[in-house]
């Protein structure tokens, strides 16, 4: 059983389980949206004293911080007991494209060049991560949600604004992939 669980899970197993997470949260009386946690953390750190956007009762969002803590634990469980021995089996075409950008073939879940321990001493990698994170934090609040809030929760409720947001996610993603990464990596 553990052997099967250790394999990477195919999309037709993972997709339904993500829908299950969304439905579970609905039955818990909440809605699935991860990026609100960034706002909650800002508010909990006292950002409400300076900026009105963070001046609200963030304690009502404690459940989402618990969900966040669970997500970290889930990642730890997956990496401790359920890790697959091989690197991510991405398409050959992607491996070839990434090699042209100077990246090695996948050996684990993440590129060592960007997220490995050495990256912590690499100024370029740190700046990329900082800028990437900044865009994600800024953009998800501007758009009022991220992949979970818009692509999963919003689209499930047939909200056209979420479709516009998802189209935006792809416009930005394609700009980074085809224009920025070749310049930056």
């Amino acid at each position: 059983m553990l052997e099967i669980l250790r394999q990477p899970w195919p999309w037709y197993v993972s997709g339904p389980l993500i829908a299950l997470v969304m439905v579970l949260l609905l039955f818990f009386g909440k809605s699935f949206g991860f990026s609100s946690n960034f706002r909650t953390i800002c508010a909990a750190c006292g950002a409400g004293k300076r900026v009105a956007f963070f001046n609200y009762n963030w304690r009502e969002q404690t459940w989402n911080l618990l969900f966040l803590a669970g997500a970290i634990a889930g990642g730890w469980i997956a990496s401790t007991w359920l890790a697959s021995p091989e690197g991510v089996q991405i398409a050959e075409a992607t491996v070839a494209d990434l090699r042209e950008l100077g990246l090695q073939e996948p050996k684990g879940l993440q590129p060592e060049e960007l997220l490995g321990l050495d990256a912590l001493l690499n100024v370029k990698a740190l700046l990329l991560l900082l800028a990437g994170g900044f865009f994600i934090g800024f953009g998800s609040r501007y758009a009022g949600g991220c992949t979970s809030g818009h692509a999963i929760s919003g689209l499930s409720n047939l909200q056209w604004p979420s479709l516009v947001a998802v189209i935006g996610f792809f416009i930005g993603g394609l700009i980074t992939t085809y224009l920025l990464l070749p310049l930056l990596l």
């Binding site: 990477p8 037709y12 993972s14 997709g15 339904p16 993500i18 829908a19 997470v21 579970l24 609905l26 818990f28 809605s31 991860f34 990026s35 946690n37 960034f38 800002c42 900026v51 956007f53 618990l66 966040l68 669970g70 997500a71 634990a73 889930g74 730890w76 997956a78 359920l82 991510v88 991405i90 992607t94 494209d97 993440q110 960007l114 912590l120 740190l126 991560l129 900082l130 990437g132 994170g133 865009f135 994600i136 934090g137 800024f138 953009g139 998800s140 501007y142 758009a143 009022g144 999963i152 929760s153 604004p161 516009v164 189209i167 935006g168 996610f169 930005g172 700009i175 980074t176 920025l180």
Partner: protein, 137 residues
């Protein structure tokens, strides 16, 4: 102990995101290069099943475990904020290879460098809050 359910849901999410490899920078690159069905399969099935679930919840007026009706808040109607905000988000998604959830799941995998992206996320959120009145919504 009723808060435990949120931790358990988070654990399920973290495991699924890990084992589906949706937290992998490589998978996100593969998706934006349209070179595999994997990520589209995950998001597509989640959305189709989500649509059916939400439809059933509305049709049968289902209630949550506290007995309250499950309600859905419609998104405000606007194009600018979703298009501009979404595009800015996408720039970062392809750069870090992680959206907000997977950032934290990666912490569990001890990819400590992702803390820099999380710090960026907090900084970006704070900046949005500070200048939101000056942005088109």
């Amino acid at each position: 102990m009723k808060k435990l359910r949120f931790i358990l849901a988070g654990i399920l999410f973290g495991i699924v995101m890990s084992k589906s490899e949706a937290i992998s920078w490589y998978r996100i690159q593969e998706m934006f290069r349209f070179q595999s069905f994997h990520m589209y399969g995950i998001i597509g099935t989640a959305v189709i099943l989500g649509i059916i679930a939400v439809w059933l919840i509305k049709k049968f007026k289902l209630r949550d475990i506290q007995g309250n009706p499950i309600e859905f808040t419609p998104k405000e109607k606007s194009v600018a904020r979703y298009l501009f905000g979404g595009t800015i988000f996408g720039l970062g998604w392809a750069l870090t290879g992680a959206c907000p959830g997977p950032m934290f799941v990666n912490l569990g995998h001890a990819y400590w460098a992702i803390l820099v992206a999380i710090a960026g996320g907090l900084l970006g959120t704070y900046t949005y809050g500070a200048i939101r009145d000056r942005l088109p919504h």
